[in-house]
């Protein structure tokens, strides 16, 4: 009985968010224009077609995809690492992607290379963390991964700082700064054609194995006693979540807080069972990023960096949750 209204409310919010995102913006585009465009009739102003199909639609889809992906990755990692402070970039994927993108901008490469190096950088850093973790067998494997991820992430952060020092302060440095702050203003349909299959490829195992995520919150011995291959399952989740996060970061830059805050909000709604928590997190993550991005492109005469807005909304909300709940 309780599930139906909550699902209906989330569905309604998602639909409202999509209509708002498609109709709000600097270029005047009314609901009648949208219905005309959706039914395939040529609009009175040919530019409306570009605004709708080439700019707003890819941007809305990217917000939904990235929001859902980051929230799913955050939910997976928080369950797997048994730690409420974990976010999707805990294993250094964002820092690695940031380093890759910064190198590409420093070399004056085109967007294709910036995104490619960001994606590869993110994957390589997580792979490095996992390889180093294999040499720390005496330590708790979960704790080792988190600590190595923090260390390698910090190292990448230092490299990004070095690149910023070397960059031209009038040209490359502002571009690196804008990229690191995240944003969806540069998204094209081509970006989505590459990033969406990779994100969905990462989301699929998370979705299908979400009930097994619950078992990873148990101590390894107990989970193994129930017939689960803990190591293999952990590798599947890390690879999948990394693929999702790296795809998101490659096309949108670093967008913080969504993967950290959304799982906490959703635990209040659904409880800690990942069968319900993961779908709810994906839906709420998609709504949150969609609304935030709509704000980022409408509240000011120029675009506000998305990473700043998600932090401004996410951080106070997180503190509120901390204050009102006894345990996370």
């Amino acid at each position: 009985m309780k599930c139906v209204p909550v699902t209906a409310i989330i569905g309604l919010l998602l639909l409202s968010g999509m209509i708002l995102a498609l109709s709000a913006g600097k270029y005047p585009l009314g609901l009648s224009d949208i219905s005309q465009l959706l039914t395939g009739n040529p609009p009175h102003d040919p530019r409306l077609s570009i605004v709708f199909w080439q700019i707003r639609m890819p941007r809305m889809l990217a917000a939904l995809l990235i929001g859902a992906g980051l929230a799913a990755a955050g939910t997976t990692y928080q369950g797997m690492f048994r730690n409420p402070l974990v976010s999707p970039d805990i294993l250094g994927v964002s820092a690695g992607a940031g380093m890759g993108a910064s190198v590409a901008i420093l070399l004056g490469l085109s967007m294709l290379y910036i995104q490619g190096l960001a994606f590869v950088g993110g994957l390589l850093v997580v792979a490095l963390v996992c390889v180093i973790a294999r040499f720390t067998r005496r330590q708790d494997p979960v704790l080792s991964l988190v600590l190595i991820g923090i260390a390698i992430g910090t190292l990448c952060g230092a490299m990004i700082s070095l690149i910023k020092v070397l960059a031209d302060p009038y040209t490359e440095l502002p571009s690196i700064t804008f990229w690191l702050l995240g944003g969806l203003n540069t998204i094209t349909i081509n970006d989505l054609q590459v990033a969406a299959p990779l994100t969905l490829l990462g989301l699929l195992p998370l979705w299908l194995l979400r009930w097994r995520m619950n078992l990873l919150s148990l101590p390894d011995e107990e989970a193994s006693a129930m017939g689960v291959n803990v190591t293999r399952l952990r590798v599947i989740f890390i690879v999948s979540a990394t693929l999702v996060t790296a795809s998101a970061v490659a096309i949108a830059g670093i967008i913080g807080w969504v993967g950290l805050v959304v799982p906490h909000i959703c635990r209040i709604i659904t409880g800690a069972n990942n069968r319900q928590l993961l779908p709810m997190s994906m839906a709420v993550g998609a709504i949150l990023l969609l609304v935030t991005d709509t704000l980022a492109r409408t509240v000011s005469s120029v675009e506000l960096p998305l990473g700043i807005l998600t932090a401004m909304i996410g951080a106070p909300f997180f503190l509120l949750l901390l204050m009102r709940r006894e345990r996370l």
């Binding site: 913006g25 600097k26 270029y27 040919p46 530019r47 570009i50 605004v51 080439q54 700019i55 707003r56 901008i105 004056g108 490469l109 085109s110 967007m111 910036i114 020092v165 070397l166 031209d168 302060p169 009038y170 040209t171 502002p174 571009s175 804008f178 944003g183 203003n185 540069t186 094209t188 492109r297 000011s300 005469s301 120029v302 675009e303 960096p305």
Partner: protein
């Protein structure tokens, strides 16, 4: 007039405020701000440039005194400049914590004077003062506004003892700026532009920023304005579709290619009419970065693009500018490489 307790308190508070923030007390900032004991012009043998705009200023005024560039390594790929210029080493910049030249390296170079050009806000003044205190080397801060170029050249030239060279350069700067003002009052004010930066062309300089002031000098209206800031900003393509600038200007090839080839940009009239101008860095930018006297040539080139009456004379003007400001002879072939189309 009665002096009430309230007016007395207001007066005292005002005096206190002005004492605490001296910049508020200055009605008009001078162009040159010396820190430390300035050497006599005849005693200056070596000058250190603190940043890219100062590189441009000193290269124009006194390359014989320049220890090296702060931001340019011209040993490769700048064949159109004379060897005396390209052989100057890149030493690194002085910018507080963002410095790439250490104070120890600075002392080892033994400059008689350090010159920085650009922003002269309290942040840069305090950095200059700190450098003087630590190294005991005099420091000259020059306000880098493009419209002040003639005075910048003359006053800095006087400090360095190169008055006649400075007077020639200032005359050229005055001529370019004067013509630009005349153009601004007639044709320029009817045109709008968008200055594209970043790989997708969606980063830009806001009206009044140093990234676009050279173009705005010609009277062209920057379509991006924000009352709250004067720096760089991100915009969406949707906004550019709405603004429909007459011209799009960029200095990066990757940006130009994206704008001219992407289907998203086809709804913009400037793209349809092939009014997307690529002003490549060579390696000194034409209109944007570095924000130095090099932009005078960019102003002239853009004016020549917009005013067909100036086009035929531009090659000779550019060759003259190269000779005066970069001390290099620009061949006709090199001109065609640098300016494929005006």
């Amino acid at each position: 007039m009665d002096v009430t307790r309230r007016s007395l308190m207001q007066g005292l508070a005002g005096c206190g405020l002005l004492a605490a923030f001296p910049s508020l007390a200055r009605a008009e900032s001078p162009l040159l701000l010396p820190f430390g004991k300035m050497p006599m012009p005849g005693n200056i043998r070596q000058v250190l440039s603190a940043g890219a705009p100062a590189d441009m200023l000193l290269l124009a005024l006194a390359p014989q005194l320049l220890l090296g560039f702060s931001s340019f390594d011209l040993r490769q790929g700048a064949q159109w400049l004379s060897p005396s210029v390209t052989q100057l080493p890149k030493l690194g910049r002085l910018a507080g914590r963002a410095s790439t030249l250490s104070l120890e390296q600075l002392l080892a170079l033994k400059p008689d004077l350090i010159i920085d050009c650009g922003d002269i806000s309290d942040t840069f003044r305090s950095l200059a003062q700190r450098t003087v205190t630590q190294t005991n080397t005099p420091y000259l801060l020059v306000s880098g506004k493009l419209t002040d170029s003639p005075a910048q050249l003359k006053q800095t030239g006087a400090v360095l003892g190169v008055d006649s060279q400075a007077a020639q350069l200032a005359a050229t700067a005055e001529q370019i700026l004067g013509d630009a003002r005349t153009f601004a009052a007639s044709t320029g004010k009817n045109l709008s532009f968008y200055a594209a930066r970043g790989a997708r062309g969606l980063e830009t300089g806001v009206t009044g920023s140093l990234h676009t002031e050279a173009i705005e000098l010609l009277g062209l209206r920057n379509v991006v304005s924000d009352t709250d800031r004067k720096g760089l900003a991100q915009v969406s393509l949707e906004q550019i579709l709405l603004w429909q600038p007459d011209l799009i200007i960029t200095q990066d090839e990757a940006t130009w290619q994206h704008i001219t080839q992407s289907p998203q940009w086809r709804g913009i009239t400037a793209v349809k009419q092939q009014q997307v101008l690529l002003y490549r860095r060579f390696p000194f930018g034409w209109l944007d970065a570095p924000p130095g006297v090099n932009r005078l040539l960019g102003v002239r080139r853009l004016q020549a693009h917009l005013d067909s009456g100036l086009r035929s004379a531009f090659k000779a003007e550019m060759q003259q500018f190269f000779l005066q400001f970069f001390h290099s002879t620009l061949s006709d072939d090199d001109y065609r490489t640098l300016v494929p189309t005006i």
